[in-house]
């Protein structure tokens, strides 16, 4: 066999191995592409990185405010198993106090892709996140002095399987998270650490889906790559509740532009009650698709690096 034939055979093998993977990286379920959302967790394992996410949360009840700079990395070990890592830096301003800066807690996670249903554009993922004690600036910034275990289930559903009589609802999709926080320490400095129920959803209308699969309205790049969305996320304490502590959460309308190698997202942050903050906040994020940037190396699952 000559050199060209060997090359063709190797390329064919690579393509066959890739094409038969159940999880395609990115958030695909059939022809549905789920972008990486900014507030809620994604329901798919992936090789992706947010660098950076810049957030200005709503101000606190006492008038304090902060700026956050975060990095998040997701890496597939196998086509269905992945790891996540998140770390952030905060700059906090409290009335009458000098500004304080430092790192927040390190969080890591393991994820498993439970299912991907192409026909119904459905996708589900189980995850366990760990927020580690003493990995941030505990006393000054209030980073936790305890480790928290957070199991959860993330899901996504596109509505491309709606009947043809509802064509313009087909670009809709929803993703969501259901999970719990279990602190490994019941109280810190006399304040109880509650177990929490976390729930969040992202409601998306995909212009890429509208263009590719429903009707071509003549939108072209970059406008055809826009995905308007509204995200909501809430945390409700379920035990060891400090008097006055209630459900907190935010509503975040925004937009994502999804390119070939990266996406850019921006959202406003609206607190749902006074306990969640005052006034408006905002965030912007630059997010890279590592599987597209490095398709033959780091962007592949670790299990395929030697193939």
């Amino acid at each position: 066999m000559n050199r060209h034939l060997w090359g063709a055979a190797a390329m064919t093998a690579v393509i066959l191995l890739s094409a038969t993977s159940n999880a395609l990286a990115h958030g695909f379920a059939g022809q549905r592409f789920f972008p990486a959302t900014l507030l809620t967790d994604d329901p798919f394992v992936a090789d992706e990185m947010s660098l950076p996410t810049f957030t200005r949360p709503p101000s606190g009840a006492d008038g304090s405010y902060e700026y956050d700079l975060d990095i998040d990395l997701a890496k597939r070990l196998t086509p269905d198993l992945g790891l996540t890592l998140g770390y952030g830096w905060a700059n906090v301003h409290s009335p009458g106090m000098p500004a304080i800066s430092g790192f927040g807690p390190l969080s890591t996670g393991v994820q498993y892709q439970l299912f991907v249903n192409a026909a119904h554009e459905a996708i589900g993922l189980a995850n366990l996140s760990v927020t580690w004690a003493h990995t941030g600036r505990v006393e000054a910034l209030g980073a936790p002095d305890f480790t928290t275990l957070s199991p959860g289930f993330d899901f996504g559903k596109g509505f491309g399987d709606l009947p043809g009589s509802l064509p313009f609802l087909r670009p809709f999709a929803v993703t969501g998270n259901l999970g719990f926080d279990f602190p490994t320490k019941t109280e810190s400095a006399g304040v109880p650490n509650s177990n929490n129920f976390n729930y969040g959803f992202a409601f998306e209308y995909s212009l890429p889906y509208l263009q590719c699969c429903v009707r071509d309205f003549g939108l072209r790049r970059p406008f055809s790559q826009l995905i308007p969305l509204v995200e909501v996320a809430f945390t409700t304490p379920i035990n060891r509740i400090t008097p006055g502590v209630t459900t907190t959460g935010t509503v975040q309308p925004g937009i994502i532009w999804s390119g070939q190698y990266f996406q850019i997202g921006a959202e406003a942050i609206i607190p749902v009650n006074h306990a969640s903050g005052r006034g408006l906040g905002g965030l912007v994020q630059l997010h890279f698709y590592l599987d597209d940037l490095f398709p033959h190396g780091f962007g592949r699952p670790v299990s395929e690096w030697l193939q």
Partner: protein
């Protein structure tokens, strides 16, 4: 640390991002359908002799295909799907003579970096 430090950190993060962006290889990513002729969801008076799909990335011809079916699920394409010479981001297939009606186009492609994608859409011939 101060706000100036934060700005420096932000600048460093953006610089790292730019470096990552510059490290990308050209024309290597998932292939999305950019547009088609007949257009997605369109109604046309008469059918063209072939349907053409344009993608956002170059395709692997051996692993890319498109079929067209009528409302009864019968194939109405000529089975000669191809990536035309010199147009690596296009996929074409010839069509039989089409009666008025709605037709479904199903495609699956592999981009040159081995990422598979798929999709379906419909178009209508005549004023049914």
């Amino acid at each position: 640390m101060t706000r100036a430090t934060m700005i420096r950190l932000g600048t460093a993060a953006l610089a790292a991002s730019m470096t990552l962006g510059l490290a990308i290889s050209p024309a290597r990513a998932h292939a999305f359908l950019d547009h088609a002729n007949p257009a997605v969801g369109s109604t046309i008076p008469t059918a063209p002799p072939a349907i053409t799909l344009w993608f956002t990335q170059d395709l692997e011809p051996a692993f890319s295909a498109v079929t067209v079916t009528n409302q009864a699920g019968q194939r109405v394409d000529l089975g000669n799907a191809q990536v035309p010479q010199g147009h690596p981001d296009e996929l074409q297939v010839g069509l039989k003579a089409l009666a008025p009606g709605t037709y479904a186009v199903s495609w699956h492609v592999v981009s040159v970096d081995t990422h598979p994608t798929e999709g379906t859409f419909t178009f209508q011939v005549g004023g049914e």
